[in-house]
Amino acid sequence: MDIRSAAIDFGLLTPHLVIAVAAMAILLLGNMVRNRGLMTVLSVGAMAVGMIYGVMQWAAPQSGFYGMVAIDNFSVFFSIIFISTGIMAILMSRDYLVAKNIDSHEYNVLIMFATVGMMLMASSTDLLVIFLGLEIMSVPLYVMAGMARRDNFSGESGIKYFIIGAFASGFLVYGIALIYGATGTTDLRRILADFTFLKMQSEMLLYSGAIMVLAAFSFKVAVVPFHMWVPDVYEGAPTPVTGYFSVGPKAAGFAALFRIFVFGFGQFSDLTMVFWILAVLTMTVGNILAIFQNNIKRMLAYSSIAHAGYVMVALTTGGQGAVSSAVYYLAAYMFFNLGAFAIITMIDCRTGSNNQIDGIKGLSGRHPYLASVLTLFMFALAGFPPTAGFMGKFFIFSEAIKNGYVWLTVIAILNSLISVYYYLRVVVAAFFMKSDKDFLPVTYRPAMFIVLLITVAGTLVLGVIPQIWVELARLSMFSIF
């Protein structure tokens, strides 16, 4: 361990600290200033400042805190994903919170703290810090799921998410305990360095520890068979929160999975078979169950399970190329999935909406632009060119084929075909089905408009000119260590 990596240097964590301190300041300020709009602007501004500091860490890999923190391009890329997700979640929640009368400035504060937790998960190479990051991320999310306190669905969503989350962290702690017992450390770098020796010495212990950690993160990113909670939690949570759940924690969980299983346990080839099975199960179950859903939030919940399956394909493939394709995919997924949820949130802001797919019948008649944008997002989710969804899937699948996982790719492509059916159902409902009653108009507010602008731009730019972004994603592989 060299002296630099041992240094206690809080400067390394500037982006994290900026957001955390700003969150505390807004928490205090919000009690004095009643203007919620101003609080939102401040939160978004603070997150943007954090993002700028994050970008400044690009291409300058450093580590510190006795090797617990690694600021490299990987962590920076993910930090940018998390912060953008947070900003968009704050913006798209505004109108909804006002409409549902659950407006409070603590909501923004919770998103900011959750973002800090996610960033810690991506920028750590120590299981202990990853665990603490996971908790800092999860605790605000439990509260956000139950945010609509008068609403029984929201309360149910909160308690389910909490019990499952705490259950998963029990597994995580036990897994970390076993890994610690097998190796005497929680530092992934040291585990990587001594892997051959450690494996010879205590293989079973290491194996069961790794399986437990995998199970814990599978809960978090919703991999089958640890997905049972997803539809209920996603349906019950307030709609913008659902959008946030389907992107932020998922990307964070995968960041940690990549750190642990591609980097720390990278030579643990016995796990590849486990990943293979999980990937196939996740894609298939997610896509098939999504077909039968009539509630659009439930449908997108299963769709998010399926998308976790595509990323699992990359995890199965392993190696630099596959992980960079997964990183690209997660960035793309952020845009089109949040975009889809932004539109659903707008529709859900109207009184008396019930989130059924039938509820968007006749959308194109009243709001042709909105319907077209929704179509764009659905096409991206299904993976049609020229959207980002197509390029993301293309990179993941081509990496898998390059590494000889032909069957896995065939199954993944078949799954993508299945998914076309239920995404198009939404499009058909919006364009070709007539509603018996008039479609209540939705209101455009500036915050929501910004979110739609960003997500549409992201979906198209990442799809049409992917080269730059692919290059960035490639550079974001663990550039040191």
């Binding site: 206690i8 409070s104 703290f113 810090v129 800092i136 605790v139 010495q201 212990l205 069961s208 068979p225």
Partner: protein, 178 residues
């Protein structure tokens, strides 16, 4: 010999307490059984030379966290409610999977430990001061400074969340008035 007797008695109490905790229908009794189990575990900690953490287990875990549970149960006055056990159809498959995982886990631990050189070589001679406060403090403020600071953020977030969830707002008060 005495050591062995203490171990088995504590282990039995720890397991018995945990089982009784689940088997109880009255949550207050459940909490008390869990506290019993924790006290037995603290004895084991001390047997493993973890003096400071053993004390923390009683003071913080049993003394603060579980008393919070007790407090909430009393606050909600849950005694009247009847609870059964899961008989749903979802439960069966899930339970089976988890039981299998756990059996595997148990087998793996026993298997490894019985043959691994690493653990068989448990050091008889420990570093001086093992398990006392100074070494823990030294680690906390040097090597583990970051995790230590992170727990402070975590606790802050938990406070915000708890207040946000459990505070009474106007609607609550109106409900209570009626």
């Amino acid at each position: 010999m005495l050591e062995v007797i203490i171990f088995y008695i504590s282990a039995l109490i720890a397991i018995g307490g945990a089982v009784m905790m689940i088997a109880q229908r009255n949550p207050v009794a459940s909490v008390l059984y869990l506290i019993l189990s924790l006290v037995a575990q603290a004895v084991l900690y001390i047997q493993l030379e973890a003096l400071f953490v053993g004390a923390l287990l009683i003071i913080v875990y049993a003394g603060a966290i579980l008393v919070l549970f007790l407090f909430v149960i009393m606050l909600l006055n849950l005694r009247g409610e009847k609870f059964g056990y899961d008989q749903g159809k979802v439960g069966v498959a899930t339970k089976l999977i988890f039981s299998l995982v756990l059996i595997f886990e148990l087998a793996a631990v026993v298997h490894t430990v019985s043959r691994s050189t690493n653990l068989a070589r448990t050091s008889e001679h420990l570093n001086p001061g093992f398990g006392s406060v100074p070494p823990v403090a030294e680690l906390l403020y040097t090597k583990y400074l970051l995790p230590f600071e992170l727990t402070s953020i975590l606790l802050l977030v938990a406070i915000i969340g708890a207040v946000l969830m459990a505070r009474r707002d106007r609607a609550d008060k109106e409900k209570e008035m009626t």
